[in-house]
């Protein structure tokens, strides 16, 4: 569903953010990208959403080149950012309706909104609340609700659990599992090794723009993922 092929990005200031990166994310799979700040995790997402063009290589969503046919590619993807920001003066329902319409979902009924709010664990009365009164956890949940209303086959998440309290983070992970069960391909960037171990089917470890290792669930299910991460980082350091 998501395919990264020899993806390279060098910024105008000369920084190599991505260096010939290759991986795929299949349907019903959660792929977590781990790495330090500046490793290139967010750059990958930015290229997938056509926020920036790649220097070379390709990124595909459902077979559509994200750089050449961005509008086609973005039909099949939803995006949940580290800090979901919505229109503060609008109610949750107005925000949901706006983004659903942008995703081509028109004529949604109250029931659709109630269902999606229940699914993400937000009370129905929150639909009538203005977003400026939402906590960060509530906003993240509403971000998921927007993604759910669009109902795309792929979801990109950029540090979605950052800043969430433990209860909200647990609820969030439960939500991710449900999405996975629905067959969504989920690409998630995170610093949180503990939660990546809990949720990921595969993890990719990135260092200075390179994908230095990809580990399957069976590799880290009974091992210490943090140890694997540190080991791979040191190995990459030695190679470079």
């Amino acid at each position: 569903m998501i395919e990264i092929n020899e993806l390279t990005k060098r910024y105008e200031d000369g920084v190599l953010a991505l260096d010939h990166v290759n991986y795929t994310v299949e349907q019903g799979e959660i792929f977590c990208l781990l790495g330090a700040n500046g490793a290139g995790k967010t750059t990958t997402i930015n290229i997938l959403l056509d926020f920036i063009p790649p220097t070379s290589g390709h990124a595909f969503i459902n077979g559509h080149d994200c750089n050449k046919f961005p509008l086609k590619a973005k039909k099949y993807v939803s995006y949940v950012s580290e800090n979901v920001q919505l229109y503060g003066m609008f109610t949750a329902r107005q925000n949901l309706a706006f983004f659903a319409e942008l995703a081509g979902k028109t004529g949604l009924k109250k029931k659709n909104y109630d269902d999606v709010m229940r699914t993400v664990g937000l009370p129905e009365k929150a639909l009538r609340m203005r977003l400026k009164h939402f906590s960060k956890g509530m906003r993240q949940k509403l971000g998921i609700a927007i993604a759910l209303l669009k109902d795309p086959p792929a979801i990109l998440m950029d540090e979605p659990t950052s800043g969430l309290d433990p209860t909200s983070a647990q609820e969030f992970l439960a939500q991710l599992r449900r999405l996975k069960e629905q067959g969504k391909a989920i690409l998630m960037t995170t610093h949180d090794i503990f939660r990546a171990k809990l949720i990921a089917d595969r993890v990719g470890i990135m260092k200075q723009g390179r994908l230095v290792a990809v580990r399957k669930k069976q590799d880290f299910k009974h091992a210490d993922l943090e140890e694997i991460y540190m080991h791979e980082m040191q190995a990459a350091e030695t190679v470079s």
């Binding site: 959403l49 926020f51 973005k74 503060g88 609008f90 927007i146």
Partner: protein, 495 residues
């Protein structure tokens, strides 16, 4: 999808505090301004009617059988512009004394419809649009919007339509309230063409307001932060609204130099003095020549103060009517005296001709100054076209007949009326003389059937011909700013 963006932009703006401020400000200022100006209009109209009626009364009762005195009695006055309840016009010469009563309009810009559109609405437009892109980038919503399958062109277009609609609503609402006040005010009588002009004025104002909205949008697409955007917008606003229109007359004066009015007046005075001296010399020489040729006969003529011929030059005063009469009688009795008098009259005509020739030089100077001043004004006007403010002022004033062109148009209609009046007065005096040969200049004359002056507004078609180029420039500014905003947004880094 475009509809969604428009609706969101519109809703977001009207839920915002700045919309409420804009709405309240617009309605209060526009309605208050129309009410105050309508009251002024009413007063000016009353004054105008009193002046016209008084003049009519004087002409009906005290017109004398002297063309020049009669001509001086008729002073045509420009009625207050019918758009006076909206826009304060340029005062004609007869109103310049107004300054003595109230100097504030000279010191501060008057609060009228032009002020509301060019200052208040243009600033509101910038306030609405400066953060349309940069602000959304900062808050993070732009990323989420662009992560959907929607083109940036649609986003920009939607923001433009939604934003301008939310901006124009308070403006139209306040204008409607003002129009309602005008329509129910019995002292303001607007015909269909006035309402058509108001509709066109509203359309031109919307073109001007959208232009500043697009300016804000354009600056926003080249800014990372809304604070940078608003500062850049204000800088451009000051440049386009305050600096360029005020600097252009100075640039024009530097590029196209003309002699000063005082200098021309001084030269004219010199020419006047010189011309009189030349005429005087000519006549004095003639007197010498005639004295030697005619001897006693001319001395007799001299004692009659030359029958009034050329006395202004020779005696430096006018001869009395008794001298003219005596010389005339003498000439009728004596053919030789008559021949001498005719020859002297010819000399007088020569001196007069010389005087006219020299004075023509003075007229040329005045004409030259007028032509050069007109060319300088035209250059300043054309230079100022790089400012949307100037173009809008030309459109609004041209359309409502409150600009310089309206003064020219008044002069034109005045000339047309005077061309009718001149033959009427001459014929009237001639007919009266024919009926009564003893008619004196102090005798009363009945001019009650004289043609009356009725000022009519310039036809809308003519006004449109004049303003369309400037309106076109405003539209062009809109296109340029939109294209620039589009170019900026296509490469805009939404991160």
């Amino acid at each position: 999808m475009l509809k969604t963006i428009i609706a969101r932009e519109f809703l977001n703006n009207i839920l915002n505090l700045r919309f409420m401020i804009g709405l309240v400000l617009c309605i209060i200022v526009t309605v208050a301004c129309i009410m105050i100006l309508a009251h002024d209009y009413q007063q000016e109209m009353t004054d105008y009617n009193i002046r016209v009626n008084l003049q009519d009364k004087i002409l009906d009762n005290y017109a004398k059988a002297n063309f020049f005195r009669l001509w001086r009695m008729i002073r045509l006055q420009k009625p207050p512009e019918r758009f006076r309840p909206l826009i304060i016009g340029i005062p004609g010469n007869e109103n310049l004394g107004f300054f003595d009563d109230n100097p504030l309009p000279i010191l501060f810009p008057p609060l009228d419809f032009l002020f509301i559109v060019t200052i208040i609405m243009s600033l509101l437009a910038i306030l609405f649009s400066h953060d349309a892109i940069a602000g959304e980038r900062q808050s993070g919503t732009l990323r989420l919007v662009i992560s959907n399958s929607i083109s940036r062109t649609k986003i920009l277009f939607g923001k433009f339509i939604g934003g301008t609609t939310s901006l124009i609503i308070p403006f139209i609402l306040s204008l409607l309230v003002g129009a309602l006040y005008i329509s129910i005010n019995p002292s303001i009588q607007w015909d269909g063409s006035a309402w058509a002009e108001l509709a066109l004025l509203t359309a031109a104002s919307i073109t001007f307001i959208t232009l500043f909205y697009l300016l804000g949008l354009m600056v926003s697409t080249f800014s990372r932060y809304s604070t940078t955007s608003i500062l850049n917008c204000l800088f451009l606003w000051i440049l386009l609204v305050l600096v360029i229109p005020n600097v252009c007359p100075y640039i024009s004066a530097q590029l196209y130099r003309i002699p000063s009015i005082k200098e021309t007046e001084r030269k004219n005075r010199e020419i006047e003095i010189h011309s009189i001296e030349v005429a005087r010399e000519l006549m004095k020489e003639s007197v010498k020549k005639f004295k030697s040729s005619y001897g006693k006969l001319f001395s007799e003529f001299e004692s009659m103060e030359f029958g009034g011929i050329g006395t202004r030059f020779v005696l430096e005063r006018d001869a009395g009517p008794e001298h003219e009469k005596a010389a005339q009688q003498r000439a009728e009795a004596d053919p030789e005296f008559k021949a001498m008098m005719d020859a002297f009259r010819e000399e007088g005509k020569k001196a007069q001709k010389e005087l006219i020739r020299v004075r023509e030089e003075s007229d040329m100077l005045d004409k030259d100054l007028e032509t050069k001043a007109a060319a300088q004004t035209k250059l300043a006007k054309n230079l100022a076209c790089i400012s949307p403010f100037a173009n809008f002022v030309y459109v609004a004033r041209g359309l409502t007949g409150t600009g310089l062109r309206s003064l020219d148009y008044f002069e034109q209609t005045k000339d047309e009326y005077e061309n009718q009046l001149r033959p009427y007065l001459s014929k009237k005096i001639d007919d009266a003389r024919e009926k009564n040969p003893a008619l004196e200049e102090e005798s009363l004359l009945d001019v009650s059937d004289r043609p009356r002056f009725a000022f009519k507004e310039e036809a809308l078609k003519e006004k449109l011909n004049e303003i369309l180029p400037y309106w076109g420039i405003l539209v062009l500014f809109n296109v340029v700013f939109f294209v620039a905003a589009f170019a900026g947004f296509i490469i805009y880094d939404v991160r």
